[in-house]
Symmetry: C2
Subunit: 334 residues, 2 copies
C-alpha cells in the first residue's frame, strides 16, 4: 500500500507538497499540482484516515447505536441520519444492541476507542450510567427516541405521549372500555411516555388503564397476548407498545381464533409503511422516523461544530392514522 512518501518520490517533490495537494491545493503551482496528480493516479494513492485523524484529533465518524435495525422505524431513522451525514462527509459506524445493555456497553467502548466525533443513540433498557463515559469525554451525544436518566443531552423523539393519548381516545370513542397497553420495557422513556398518554386518556374517560409491560419484539407481543388469554384477561382493545409487538399480538390472536377488529381491537405506534401499502390495516400513532434521523444528525453536527449551549429537546408530532384494526364492530355496522 503506497504512502504519501511514495507519491512524493514518484512526483519528485516532498511529502508536504503531496499533503498540500489534498489540504490546500490552491497553494500549489499548476505544474507541481499536475505532477502530484498523476503520481497519485499511477499509485492509486488514498490517504490513510487513521494517520490523518491521529493528528487532527477528528475522525469524521459518527456512531449510530440502535436497539433493533430490523424494525422499519429504526431503519428509517438510519436512512435519515445517513442522508445528512453523507452530505457533510461523515461516516457512520453502526451498532445494534438488540435491547441488551451489555452489547450497548460494548459498543460504547468501541466507539470511544475509535474516537468517534459524535454519538447518536437509542439506549437499551436498564441503568445506562455507562453512557456517562462518552459524555464525560466531551463527545457530543444525541439521544434519539429515548431519553436517558441523568444524561442531559440533546434529544429527538416523537410526541408519543400525545400519540398514546389520541390512540386511546380514539379507542374510547369507539366504545371500548376495557383497554390494555401491552409490551415495551419498564423504565424506558419511550414506554413510560406511551403509558402516560394512555393512562391520561383512560382516566379522563373514567376508565381503568391496564398495563402489561414486556419487550419490544414480536415474540413479546405473542407471549403477552397468549398469557392474557390463558388468564381470561384479554381486553376489548389492545394498544401495543410498538409495531413489532402489535404484529405479535395479531399473530397470537389469529392463532387463538380471534378476529381483529371484530373480536378484539388493536392499535399501536410506529407505522410499517410497506405493510400498510399492501393492506392498510393497523391503526397507528406514527412517528416521523426519517425526520427524527435527519434532525438528530443536524443537532449532532451543531455540537461537533462547537455549539455548546443548553441541550435541546426536539419533540416531533405523531400522526394518528386510523385504519381497520381499531374500528369497533358496532361502529362498522352503522
Amino acid at each position: 500500500m503506497s504512502t504519501i512518501l511514495d507519491v512524493a518520490q514518484q512526483a519528485g517533490v516532498s511529502a508536504m507538497t503531496v499533503s498540500r495537494y489534498f489540504n490546500q491545493p490552491e497553494r500549489l503551482a499548476p505544474a507541481t499540482y499536475e505532477r502530484v496528480r498523476t503520481a497519485i493516479e499511477q499509485l492509486q494513492y488514498v490517504p490513510n484516515a487513521a494517520a490523518r485523524s491521529l493528528i487532527s484529533g477528528r475522525t469524521k465518524t459518527v456512531a449510530l447505536i440502535l436497539t433493533d435495525i430490523t424494525n422499519p422505524f429504526y431503519t428509517t431513522i438510519v436512512r435519515g441520519v445517513e442522508d445528512i451525514a453523507q452530505q457533510h462527509d461523515y461516516t457512520l459506524i453502526l451498532g445494534n444492541t438488540d435491547e441488551k445493555l451489555e452489547k450497548e456497553r460494548c459498543y460504547i467502548d468501541i466507539m470511544i476507542s475509535r474516537r468517534v466525533d459524535g454519538v447518536i443513540i437509542a439506549s437499551a433498557p436498564g441503568n445506562n450510567h455507562y453512557l456517562q463515559r462518552v459524555f464525560r469525554r466531551g463527545i457530543p451525544v444525541v439521544l434519539i427516541d429515548r431519553t436517558v436518566k441523568d444524561i442531559d443531552a440533546d434529544v429527538v423523539r416523537g410526541d408519543i405521549y400525545t400519540g398514546g393519548k389520541r390512540l386511546t381516545e380514539h379507542l374510547v370513542n369507539q366504545g371500548f372500555q376495557d383497554i390494555a397497553l401491552i409490551g415495551g420495557f419498564t423504565g424506558v422513556s419511550s414506554l413510560e411516555e406511551r403509558q402516560a398518554g394512555f393512562r391520561f386518556a383512560m382516566e379522563a374517560a373514567g376508565l381503568t388503564p391496564k398495563v402489561h409491560p414486556g419487550r419490544t419484539d414480536q415474540l413479546s407481543g405473542e407471549e403477552i397476548t397468549e398469557r392474557l388469554w390463558k388468564e381470561g384477561k384479554l381486553p376489548e382493545a389492545i394498544v401495543a407498545a410498538n409495531n413489532h409487538v402489535a404484529v405479535g399480538a395479531l399473530v397470537a390472536l389469529r392463532r387463538l381464533g380471534l378476529r381483529v377488529p371484530e373480536d378484539i381491537a388493536l392499535a399501536t405506534f410506529d407505522d410499517i409503511e410497506s405493510a400498510a401499502a399492501i393492506y392498510p390495516f393497523l391503526t397507528v400513532a406514527a412517528q416521523p422516523a426519517y425526520d427524527m434521523g435527519t434532525q438528530a444528525m443536524e443537532l449532532l453536527l451543531d455540537r461537533m461544530q462547537g455549539y455548546a449551549g443548553p441541550s435541546r429537546n426536539r419533540l416531533l408530532p405523531t400522526e394518528l392514522i386510523i385504519r381497520r384494526s381499531s374500528i369497533a364492530p358496532t361502529v362498522v355496522a352503522h
Copy 2:
C-alpha cells in the same frame, strides 16, 4: 483525553507495560497488573484505535455497502452480518448507495482511506470497474446479492434463477398466459437471473416472456404499472423484480381500481415478514436474507484470516411462499 503515557505515569510504569496490559496481560507481574488496572480505571483510559491500527495495519473494521437500507431484505442482511461481525470483534461501517454508482464510488474511496479490513457489497447498477480499486489493494471483498462483471470475488446470493422459475411455473399452473416481469435494473445480475428463470419457465410453457425493467423502488413499480395500463398492456399476471416494486404495483393497481388477484395476479421476490404476519398476501420467492448476511461475513472472515484460495460461490435456496396475490380467480372458485 488521556493517553497511554498518562496511564504509565499514574501507575509509575512505562508505556510499554500499559500496552502489555492490553495485549499480553499474562506477562505482567500481578502487582503491576493491578497498579495499571487502577490507573486505567481512574483515568478512564481507552486505547486509541487509530494509533493502534497505524502500527498493526489492521482496523478490525468491515465496510457494508448496500443500495437500500430501507428494504427489509437488506436490513435482514445487515442483521446477519452484524451478528457475526460482533462475535469476532469487527465493527461495521455502513454505506447506503441508493442504487447510485456515484455514491458507491464515494463510499469505496472512503472505505479505502479508512483501510477497512474487508468489504461486503451489493453493488449499484452500472459499470462497477471502480470496485477494482478495492480488489487490487488486496482488500478482501464479498459480493452479496449481486455479482459484478470482471470481479472474481466470493459471492453470496439467493438462487433467484430457480426462484423466478418456480414463481413463474406457479403462475402458469394457475392458468395465466400473459405474464410480465417488471422493475429491476438492466445489467444487474440480480435482475438478469430473475429474468432468466422467468424466461425459461415461460418458454418451457410455450409462452412469450415480457420484461419491463426499471428500478428497484416502490415508485418504479407504480410507474411501470401505470404505463402498462395506459398503453393497454397490463398482463394477466405480474412478477415484480423485488418486494418494493411489488408494493408499488399493488398501489398503482388499487388506484386504477383493479383488484389483486381477482383482476390481475401478482408475485415477487424477497418476503416482507412483518407485512406477511399482518396479512399473508404477497406470493414470494423468499431469499434467506439473514443467512446470506451471516455467510457473507463468514466468507469475509476467512479471507481476512488469510484464506487465499479460489473464490467461493454460495448459492442459497429460495423458498416459494404461495399466498393470495397469485391465486387465479378460477382456481379460487373451485
